[in-house]
Symmetry: C2
Subunit: 93 residues, 2 copies
């Protein structure tokens, strides 16, 4: 399997990369992620669990039974790839 | 929609990025792409049509009713993003 295929096994879903992009700005509450991304809640919860298991992000328990998510160093290392993809779309074709 | 979301609308499927990665080495015959990627043939044909419509690659007719595919300049511009994703997976986590 190529390195790219290995990366896509972890962040190959549309929502996964959009979640990581959102967290590049700093930790986010679950409800804020859901609102900002417009992701179906089951989809968001599933992607967050997968990304947590892959060591890309971690969960921060908050008061009142809420939680937030933040990127690990491994997750922060995705910044270059995400900026390159966004930059590609922003280029005039 | 963010630039990243726009990029994922075009190359957000696993196979799309793997096809583009393969074509970064130069034009490839359909049959070689299919063999190298191990993609189901309907999947490959669909992704190729989408990427052609998006201006990422173009079709090169060959003799004997075969065809090859090559990246446009727009497709070649994905190199940085693909290398960044592959590099991320290759890093020790």
């Amino acid at each position: 399997m190529s390195d790219l295929a290995a990366a896509l096994d972890i962040v190959g879903s549309r929502w996964a990369l959009l979640i990581v992009e959102r967290l590049l700005d700093g930790p986010q509450r679950y409800g804020d992620l859901q609102r900002d991304l417009g992701a179906p809640t089951n989809m968001l919860a599933t992607r967050l669990r997968e990304l947590e298991a892959a060591g890309v992000l971690y969960r921060i328990p908050l008061k009142h039974n809420t939680r937030a998510y933040a990127l690990t160093d491994r997750g922060l290392a995705l910044r270059a790839a995400i900026e390159a993809l966004g930059g590609w779309a922003a280029e005039k074709s």
